[in-house]
Amino acid sequence: MQEKLVEFANLLRENGVRVSLAETLDAFSASEVTGLSERDAFRAALRATMVKRASELPVFEELFDIYFSGLGEIIKQASQAVQNALSMSDQEFQKFLDQVEKMLQKEGKNLSELARQLLQNNSGEMERKIREASRAVKLNGIERTIEENYFARALARQLGLDKIEAEIKELREQLEKMDIGSELKAKMEEYLERRLKALDDIIRRYVRMEREKRDIKQKEDQRLNQIGEKSFYYLTEEELKKMNEAVTRLAQRLKNVITVRRKRSKKGRFDIKRTLRQNLKYGGVPFKLRFEKRKKEKPQVVILCDVSDSVRNASRFMLQFVYSLQDLYSRVRSFIFVADIGEVTECFRNNDAKEALDVALTGDIINVYAHSNFGYAFRNFVTDHLGAVNKRTTVIVLGDARNNYNLPHDWCLREIRQRAKKVIWLNPESRNTWGFGDSEMDRYAAHCDLVEECRNLNQLYRVVDRLVAG
């Protein structure tokens, strides 16, 4: 079982569910508690130990069905098909199997194990054998439909299908000579033939199922990759929604990392000097204790986000990121600009994400239908909001730097940088196009500590990683 669970954990991992080794071991202990025979309990046990995110539950359910019900189910169905072909009721079939058993005791002494299991309808053992064989032929490497034939043959060879065929043929010949009623004889003959065919069927269906398993993974991979690499400019509504979740999680991760780091340099120590000084009035009896103030270097962030039409999708998405950040930190101030610049900190604080973005983008705060003018926006920021920036502030500018040939006023950015700890510029446009046409990116870059292309989710991930690291 342990082996099977490790394999299942791998499968989950391949499909994007993060399962650690410790969790796999937990799954094992849990399955020992519930036992395997009761499907629902077993399923619940694995679910509780291996999947920790609600969003991953559907993948789990799907894979569990394929993996744990899969082969067993196929074997059961094949057996059912045999029974149906013989048009017997459950009872009749059971009785018939007893007769088969008797016959085998007499004539089947030389049968190989698998042949015997097949004829005795011993599905558990068969399942085990087939799994073993599929490991030997590395069935889990199957990827494409055209490989199905190859793997089916390999698996048949591994299982010794030829030999089983020969054995069953021999059995049929012996059956001829046996002294049982002709009706039963006919039934037995048919049974043997059907069983043989059933095995072939099982192999084929199992191989197909394995291939489909990989397919799910492929599709999922493709989808994720696509969405990760796809430029913000071309996202559909559905994709935007997915992105938003990803972005929120990204911001969360940023915060987790920072929190853990802060926690390491924890807690103020007892401050003797201050305690004594403060308690002089009580004759030196220390009534009020003083601790060294914990230095909380709370990160301060000021974000300037371009929301002009040229970056519409990107800015929605950036704003979502800004929104999540602001939700996580107390000291984030957020501004949006096209030509005018306006603060949205309050608006973000008081609304849920969707409303906040709507307010920001529908023009109540600034005119979003104006033509981009970075110079004008920066100058207004310096005049009206420079107080928001101090030597602990990281300033992040999100924008494409397309200035419509207006005055760039890059001196404003210089001024901001002089007061700030750091200035970072994230540009949703491809690096190749920076500086061409009305792009002032090169000019502004001179006053930034870091300029990054940030056209898609993967790049944003990288940027966040860097921010976290430094």
């Binding site: 993060r18 650690s20 410790a22 969790e23 937990d26 202990s29 849990a30 508690v33 519930t34 629902d40 309990a41 619940a44 046990a45 679910r47 509780a48 130990t49 999947v51 920790k52 995110r53 609600a54 539950l57 999680r249 969360q252 915060k255 987790n256 929190t259 853990v260 802060r262 926690k263 009896v285 220390p286 009534f287 204790l289 996580l328 849920d352």
Partner: protein, 319 residues
Amino acid sequence: MFSSIEDVIERFAKNNYIASRRIATVIYLATELRKPVLVEGPAGVGKTDLAKVLAASLGFDMIRLQCYEGLDEGKALYEWEYAKQLLYTQILKDKISEVLVGAKSLTEAVDRIAAQDEVFFSERFVLPRPLLKAISSEQPSVLLIDEIDKADAEFEAFLLELLSDFQVTVPELGTLKAKHIPLVVLTSNNAREMSDALKRRCLHLYIDFPDRVQELAIVKLKVPEAATKLAEEVVTVVQSLRKLDLKKTPGISETLDWVKALTLLNVNSLDQELVTETLDTIVKYEGDVRKAQEELKDYVRRVRARRGTEAGSDKDLLN
């Protein structure tokens, strides 16, 4: 503890909680494997109640830590009562002098005071908060850490340490180890995602809204005085409202509240007017109310169409 999954289901039922097989399995595992359970799910699906019923079913004490933004170790674990300690010191001044009578050197004086250490550093100056209570409890207990997602990530990191060995070090007293490892239930509304480290330590239980049959059973259990027809109608309506994209989807608590309210009003069956008047029991936001009303109109129309000519007076809309 429980003898089987069925046992969980039965004993929970005795305590007025309808546990699905999946829930019961996770609870059974938690008690067998001694692992904390992280319960996630939308508001009002019975996460908090689950912990309470677990304690009641086992006859354990229930210790609850309600999380909120800014919750810190002092509020969660213990506080040292410096003022009380100082007061003792002051009051005992004379006694201290007595102890010191005849001491020949400073060293001797210090030694004598040191011999009385435990007077000054004892548990009597510790003000225990829920987590310490759970650790030092003489009885086995269920520790409910409710709405952990509301606490800061920093607190989560602290909790993680605690959950791994159930011992704490109080600098003044030394290390305290739990006499009974408590059964821990953490709940989260998913306001933020819990760290992987925490999730790895816990069994995970996701409780979703119940299906119709289950919800009806819960209503019957919790509001037995409600008319069957009313209960059925309310559940049907709530179930259909959950399909809408609402700002706050009504939970089981809302269903129960609504049934209770209507039962108090002596209602046996819903009609349009009543629905309009009491809708704010289950949907709280203005936008949601509007959406809900739209949906219900539709719903009523459909029911009527199905009933065909049979539809009676304008008032009797839902039936």
